[in-house]
């Protein structure tokens, strides 16, 4: 009788332990929208006359992308990320692709984790000389003639790195190197969503290249979505 009770108890403990090991911890998310108040600066058309092979690729001149807004006063190209509270993980192996196309950087902002591989392609018929202006990471610039293999690079330290082309002064972009694996880049609707967050207290930071950074603290409980919005103050100049 005693053996039966003991073995049932042992079996019970084993089942509970096994279930505990198989069930994943609850994960919530932080979602929200980034908007602005005030008058943002007007974006200007870029004159690529000095590079006819690029100018001919655009039926209407492209605009600068420093402050891109969407309907409802939303802000595009805002990097929203967890700056405190999450555990750093290993850098993903997925390659981040950065293209020089039509004498523009596509995408305007490339977000990556420290240590993640980056590949830079030249799709144009002209040479470019990409020059990321890093201060914490080693600074470099490299010429890239047309139809040559991509430049491979990695950044080991988190940093917001402006990128310019030494040959075409209007080209401008960013490498945003983060320590966190939880980040999002807002689209034209200004929304972001950070998923897969275990319950806890987090500091979320939003960065826009002209308006700077803002941080807010938020607590994630359970598996629901925690709403968090950012509002930047825009000035015309």
């Amino acid at each position: 009788m005693r053996t039966k009770v003991l073995s049932s108890l042992a079996l019970g403990i084993l089942v509970v332990a096994a279930t505990g090991a198989l069930v994943t911890p609850p994960a919530g998310s932080i979602t929200g929208t980034v908007t602005y108040t005030g008058t943002p600066p007007k974006m200007k058309p870029i004159d690529m006359a000095k590079e006819p092979t690029c100018a001919s690729q655009h039926a209407t001149p492209v605009m600068t992308e420093n402050v891109v807004t969407g309907p409802g006063n939303t802000l595009q190209y805002v990097v929203v990320y967890i700056s405190a509270g999450d555990q750093p993980g290993p850098a993903p192996a997925a390659v981040v692709r950065y293209e020089q196309k039509g004498c523009e950087y596509v995408p305007h902002i490339a977000v990556m984790q420290a240590g993640q591989p980056l590949e830079i392609y030249n799709d144009d018929q002209t040479a470019h000389n990409i020059h990321p202006l890093s201060k914490l990471n080693p600074e470099w610039n490299k010429s890239q003639p047309p139809a040559t293999p991509p430049i491979k690079a990695t950044y080991d330290k988190p940093e917001f790195i402006p990128v310019k082309c030494n040959i075409h002064p209007w080209m401008h972009g960013y490498f945003v190197v983060l320590g966190s694996a939880n980040y999002a880049l807002t689209g034209n609707d200004g929304t972001f969503s950070l998923k897969g967050l275990p319950p806890g207290k987090y500091t979320v930071t939003a960065w826009q290249e002209k308006f700077g950074s803002q941080s807010q603290e938020v607590t994630v409980t359970g598996t629901g979505a925690t709403k968090l919005d950012f509002v930047f103050k825009a000035l015309p100049y």
């Binding site: 058309p45 870029i46 004159d47 590079e51 000389n129 002064p169 002209k210």
Partner: protein, 267 residues
């Protein structure tokens, strides 16, 4: 050997002079007001030096033919009086030619580079940088804003370092990557460099001017034809020097007004 050399010299002389006389590779048509004077000066120089070149080379060929060493031990003829009179004669001849051409040419050169600014001139500020030109027009207020080098931000299209937030004269400045001008309008360019030495050269205008870092250099011209011509950088300025160019667009007065109105509307 002397005869072969004489024939070679004569042939090369006639061929090379012939290429110029036949204008096989020639200047583009001139579209500037003072270009006529420059072309005239250029032709005078070419004719003067060309005639001297042909005559001296043919004389050389003739003497080489007549007095070349036959290899039979006879005495070699020399210039009457020896080497010194020959050198003096040649130096005086060439110096006179160069000095005369210089004096005659100062009038044309002075007309372009030493004229006082024309009060009716359209003032355009030019900045050369690695590796593009940017041109700034005063805008409706007629004034150019102050340049603040620490505010230069190419990625934000603030190539000149203007401060529109605090400087009202800078707010309406028009910045263009092409030099757009009306035809038959005197133009005054004030040229400065953002970084290293560059140059501004439009062959069709017959003017070329270096940008010297630290200096603001004035340059005046008037374009006499509607055209789109290339501006090239002729001072080695770095790895992108080969790619440094812009376009001069000479428009009719109406087209220019329309272009300017479009630029102002985009401000």
């Amino acid at each position: 050997m002397g005869k072969l050399f004489a024939v070679l010299v004569a042939v090369i002389t006639v061929l090379s002079a012939g290429i110029f006389i036949a204008r096989v590779w020639w200047l583009p048509p001139d579209i500037s007001l003072l270009g006529v004077g420059i072309d005239h000066q250029l032709m005078e120089t070419m004719v003067a030096s060309g005639v001297l070149f042909v005559v001296s080379q043919l004389v050389l060929a003739a003497f080489a033919w007549r007095y070349g060493d036959r290899g039979d031990g006879r005495a070699i003829k020399t210039f009457p009086g020896g080497a010194t009179p020959m050198v003096v004669f040649a130096t005086v001849l060439v110096s006179v030619e160069i000095l005369v051409l210089s004096f005659v040419g100062t009038k044309v050169w002075g007309g372009i580079f030493l004229s006082p600014p024309n009060p009716d001139a359209l003032h355009i500020d030019v900045q050369a940088e690695q590796f593009a030109y940017y041109f700034r027009y005063p805008g409706p207020d007629g004034k150019l804003g102050t340049i603040h080098p620490e505010l230069i931000d190419d990625g934000n299209s603030n190539f000149f370092g203007l401060d529109p937030a605090n400087d009202s004269t800078a707010r309406d400045d028009i910045v263009s990557a092409s030099l757009v001008i009306p035809v038959n309008q005197p133009i005054l360019l004030t040229m400065h460099s953002k970084d290293v030495g560059h140059a501004f050269y439009v062959p069709d205008l017959r003017i070329q001017q270096d940008f010297v870092p630290g200096l603001v250099i004035p340059l005046q011209f008037t374009a006499t034809q509607v055209a789109k011509k290339e501006i090239v950088c002729t001072q080695l300025c770095g790895l992108g020097h080969y790619n440094m160019r812009g376009y001069l667009e000479v428009k009719t007065k109406d087209e220019y007004q329309q272009w300017m109105a479009d630029q102002v509307a985009q401000q």
